[in-house]
């Protein structure tokens, strides 16, 4: 059985998920929708048909998004970097690059293991190579989705955040060992007792230092920025999910 309020609520949730419409804009469009349904019903059209006619007259969600985004073009251009959506697309490219570089580095290390020319730690067994390539392959796929403007679920964003976060810290020269893991471009800011320096390392790297040296600590700036963008996307996703839930609850 057709329930008008339920269908309108579903339509509003779909609008809200787009992230281009404020709550008051959704309310305004909802009022328009009800007015049109009322008008059609007054002309003898059934409630269900009236709803679909009203939706068609108002335009599809994609068409509405295009119309509404016309007002935001300049602002988007000015805040391209800060904007979560543009950030997501840049992040998508980064994640795809990380996936390619990491898969290449892992595959090379595995071939080295397979050929027997090298010994650990410059080689990795098949299971580890497969796990790393599968994990970063997933990361690259999610990056591709972000690049295409698809919204990722909170779970996927949390997974990506974990993958990127482990690339942020750099610890070296401790008596036991150090830690450094970069799956893509690394721009490291290093602090130690002797010096402060910046280092740029393109490519993937994954190692645990065993050689003793002066202790130093650092941050991989590229991973840090990527992590911040993922966190922004995550917050954005949470807000949209909450808005959709509260809208559905209110309508119900």
């Amino acid at each position: 059985m057709f329930r008008l309020d339920h269908e309108v609520s579903k339509w509003c949730s779909a609008l809200t998920r787009q992230g281009r419409f404020s709550a008051s804009q959704v309310e305004e469009l909802t009022d328009h929708l009800y007015n049109e349904v009322q008008k059609q019903q007054a002309m003898g059209v059934s409630e269900e048909k009236a709803f679909y006619l009203a939706i068609r007259k108002l335009g599809t969600i994609d068409e509405l998004t295009v119309e509404y985004s016309k007002n935001q073009r300049i602002r988007h251009a000015l805040s391209a970097i800060a904007n979560v959506r543009y950030g997501a697309q840049v992040l998508g490219l980064y994640l795809m690059a990380v996936a390619c570089l990491m898969s290449y580095a892992t595959a090379t290390a595995w071939f080295a293991y397979y050929s027997g020319e090298f010994t650990p730690p410059d080689t990795v067994p098949f299971v580890l190579a497969f796990a790393v390539i599968a994990t970063f392959g997933w990361c690259g796929f999610k990056g591709f989705q972000l690049l295409r403007g698809r919204a990722l679920s909170c779970g996927a964003l949390l997974g990506l955040l974990a993958l990127i976060s482990i690339q942020v810290p750099i610890i070296g020269g401790l008596p036991v060992n150090g830690y450094e893991f970069s799956g893509g471009l690394q721009y490291a800011v290093l602090f130690g007792p002797l010096e402060y320096r910046l280092e740029f390392h393109p490519g993937a790297d994954m190692h645990i230092n065993t050689a003793f040296s002066e202790p130093y600590f650092g941050i991989n700036i590229v991973a840090l920025v990527a992590g911040i963008f993922i966190a922004l996307n995550l917050i954005d996703r949470w807000r949209k999910d909450e808005a959709a839930v509260s809208h559905t609850t209110t309508a119900a």
């Binding site: 008051s24 804009q25 309310e27 305004e28 469009l29 909802t30 009022d31 328009h32 009800y34 007015n35 049109e36 009322q38 007259k57 108002l58 335009g59 068409e63 509405l64 119309e67 509404y68 016309k70 007002n71």
Partner: protein, 113 residues
Amino acid sequence: MVIPKDLVAASATPIILSILSNGDSYGYAIIEEVRRASSGELEWADGMLYPILHRIEKKGLVSSYFRIAENGRKRKYYKLKKSGKRELAQLRQHWTDLHNVLINLGGEQQCFA
């Protein structure tokens, strides 16, 4: 005769401001008023109106407020501001000037043929 899209777009702001000069109104009523005034010749896509309303609101030509409608739902009304009245007077003058240019060039008969 259906009016071409570019003319529809160009005339949207003065038409909205003209409707609001008669009193506060809301999106759906504005669209209905346009249909009635143009006898259906001016076809506005319903979804096109709201971004224009928001744009002219940002420009400071109109203000908006919410009120509970007779059906119990929240409804957003738009109100013409003083700057909007001045803008409307200017736009009306521009359209009159254009109309006069066409009249002077082709005569009234040819212009509206």
